[in-house]
Amino acid sequence: MDWLASNWRTVIDLAGQHLYLAGVPLLLGLLLSLPLGWLAKRWRGAYPAVVTTSGLLYTIPSLALFIIMPIVLGTKILDPVNVIVAMTVYTVALLARTVADGLISVPDHVEQAATAMGYRGLRRLVGVELPLAVPVIAAGLRVAAVSNVSIVSVASLVGVSQLGSLLVDGWRRIIWGELVTGIVACLVLALLLDGLILLGAKALTPWRRVAGGAA
């Protein structure tokens, strides 16, 4: 507690940094996953490819990815962009499949009706398919959010500071207060993001809150 009392400004700063490094890739990853998921649904042959490739991406160790990024991107080793891009890769790894599954989960009779009414292309995706896929996509987004918050902390090993720095520093210097603060702050951040996504999904799906079927 003493440690936190004298360092809370640093903790807030690091938390802000952590949120940025985990949150921005979440949004970017979602944006990239939408077309991929749509492709996987549209051409069923693409589905296994999308799912397998994205699954493989997730197996790359995060430390390795953080180290490779500057080489691939030509950025400086301490540039936070490395982390943003790497985290985006992980987000896509988790979300591409979720988006595809979400779009596929749209009931067949709804798809048929949409077709029969002349819904096509982007208008169909935005007007019919995406809104109905929100529950599935939100579920995947929650997993990705928590996963991002956790993986980002590893970035302190390549010198990009965020809450993970507390863990590294606390461990090196055996400061229990710093270690515990780091862990708790990560948890709080993960819960916060999770809650935000949950609220967002609820706001987007008012139709799911109504009582089901009046007989």
């Binding site: 009931p107 009779h109 709804v110 048929q112 009706a113 949409a114 077709t115 029969a116 009414m117 002349g118 819904y119 096509r120 208008r123 019919v128 809104p131 109905l132 799906t205 008012p206 139709w207 109504v210 009582a211 089901g212 079927g213 009046a214 007989a215």
Partner: protein
């Protein structure tokens, strides 16, 4: 007018769903495609709005080849109703109804007005407009489905088993209201069902398809029942087709007898016979009572035997015969169009009337297309 011209659909796996179908659905009429599963009726329907493309042959709408029309434009000009309604669960009832108008670029206000108008037209409470589909019963959803199909006032409607997922009583209501609506709107409709009773009730013309997608017969319902083209059609239209055909026979003048009646609350006079007909103040029949069981008190509501059906004098022979058969007194109750008692009739009297009627006949002797609805030659 929708015209199928030698239309064949073969799926990539080799299955022939529709085999050389030539059929005309006349303007302003209901054409029902009926047959067992696998007869290609739904495939035929979906080829009209090109949700499925034919392998061979062509389909034309008022003389225009649909194969040359832009898909989305073609579809927005055709109302489509499916089983389970296929409503968009994330949109309110009003927004569901307004789907096609919005796609056609109507502004929000005009769309809303049109949607409200249609909501009432299909017999739904305007208060349901802001609900989501999940809050409606199956029957209500199906009505919304019909309203949605009608929203942009398309001249053509395709209906794929729209009433088969609701219970029989609701189905009956929906069918009646559908016919009433069609009377007002006069759309060109192709209606798919596997239920021959529904086909016969709704169709101006009924096309029976057999497995493998071949047209077995197309005719007016009464003709179909009286002259099935072959064993398959005969079997499909059912064993009691003779009785059901009576529903297309208007009742000739029946030898009605006057009936002694009693008003609710009155005491039956002595010697009123085994059964006495109870009517209300306007002489509308309420039911039968057995005077012997009443004794010397007034007739109460609970005494009424309600098993008998009531036939309209201007109704069908089926109604008249059923009234006689279902009446506990064996005297079938016949009323006028406003429901006021006209008299009663016995089953054998209805039967003699039936014997005096002709079965529906046509001069043409084409067994498949016999008795088809007369078509306008100009294709209008």
């Amino acid at each position: 007018m929708i015209r199928f011209d030698g239309v064949t659909k073969q799926f990539p796996d080799g299955t022939v769903a529709v085999d050389d179908l030539s059929l005309t659905a006349p303007t302003g009429k209901i054409t029902v495609l009926v047959g067992p599963s696998g007869c290609g009726k739904t495939t035929s329907l979906r080829m009209v709005n090109r949700m499925i493309e034919p392998t061979k042959g062509s389909i034309s709408l008022d003389g225009q080849d649909t194969g040359r029309m832009k898909q989305s434009e073609l579809r927005r000009g055709i109302g489509y109703v499916i089983q389970h309604a296929g409503l968009f669960p994330h949109r309110t009832v009003l927004d569901n109804i307004g789907t096609v108008p919005r796609l056609l670029g109507w502004d929000r206000k005009r769309t809303q007005e049109r949607s409200r108008e249609l909501l009432e037209r299909v017999g739904l409470d305007p208060a349901l407009g802001d609900r989501y589909p999940a809050q409606l019963s199956g029957g209500q959803q199906q009505r919304v489905g019909v309203a949605r199909a009608l929203a942009a006032d398309p001249p053509v409607m395709l209906m794929d088993e729209p009433f088969s997922a609701v219970d029989p009583i609701v189905r009956d209501q929906l069918q009646d209201e559908f016919l009433r609506l069609q009377d007002e709107l006069g759309k060109t409709i192709i209606f798919v069902t596997h239920d021959i009773d529904e086909a016969i009730k709704l169709g101006d013309q009924v096309a029976v398809l057999r497995v493998g997608g071949q047209l077995a017969q197309v005719a007016e319902p009464s003709y179909l029942l009286a002259h099935p083209a072959d064993d398959f059609v005969a079997d499909f239209v059912g064993r009691d087709r003779g009785y059901r055909a009576l529903q297309f026979q208007p009742t000739p003048r029946l030898p009605l007898r006057s009936e002694r009646t009693i008003v609710l609350g009155e005491q039956p006079a002595a010697g009123s016979g085994a059964w006495l007909l109870v009517v209300d103040e306007q002489r509308k029949p309420l039911g039968w009572v057995e005077p012997a069981r009443i004794g010397s008190r007034g007739v109460e509501d609970a005494d009424l035997h309600r098993g008998g059906t009531v036939a309209r004098a201007a109704g069908t022979l089926r109604g008249a015969l059923d009234a006689a058969l279902s009446s506990p007194s064996r005297r079938g109750v016949v009323v006028d169009d406003s429901g006021v008692l006209v008299g009663t009739v016995l089953a054998h009297e209805v039967l003699s009337a039936i014997e005096d009627t002709d079965r529906p006949e046509r001069d043409e002797e084409d067994p498949v297309h016999g008795g088809a609805v007369a078509l306008a030659e100009d294709g209008a």
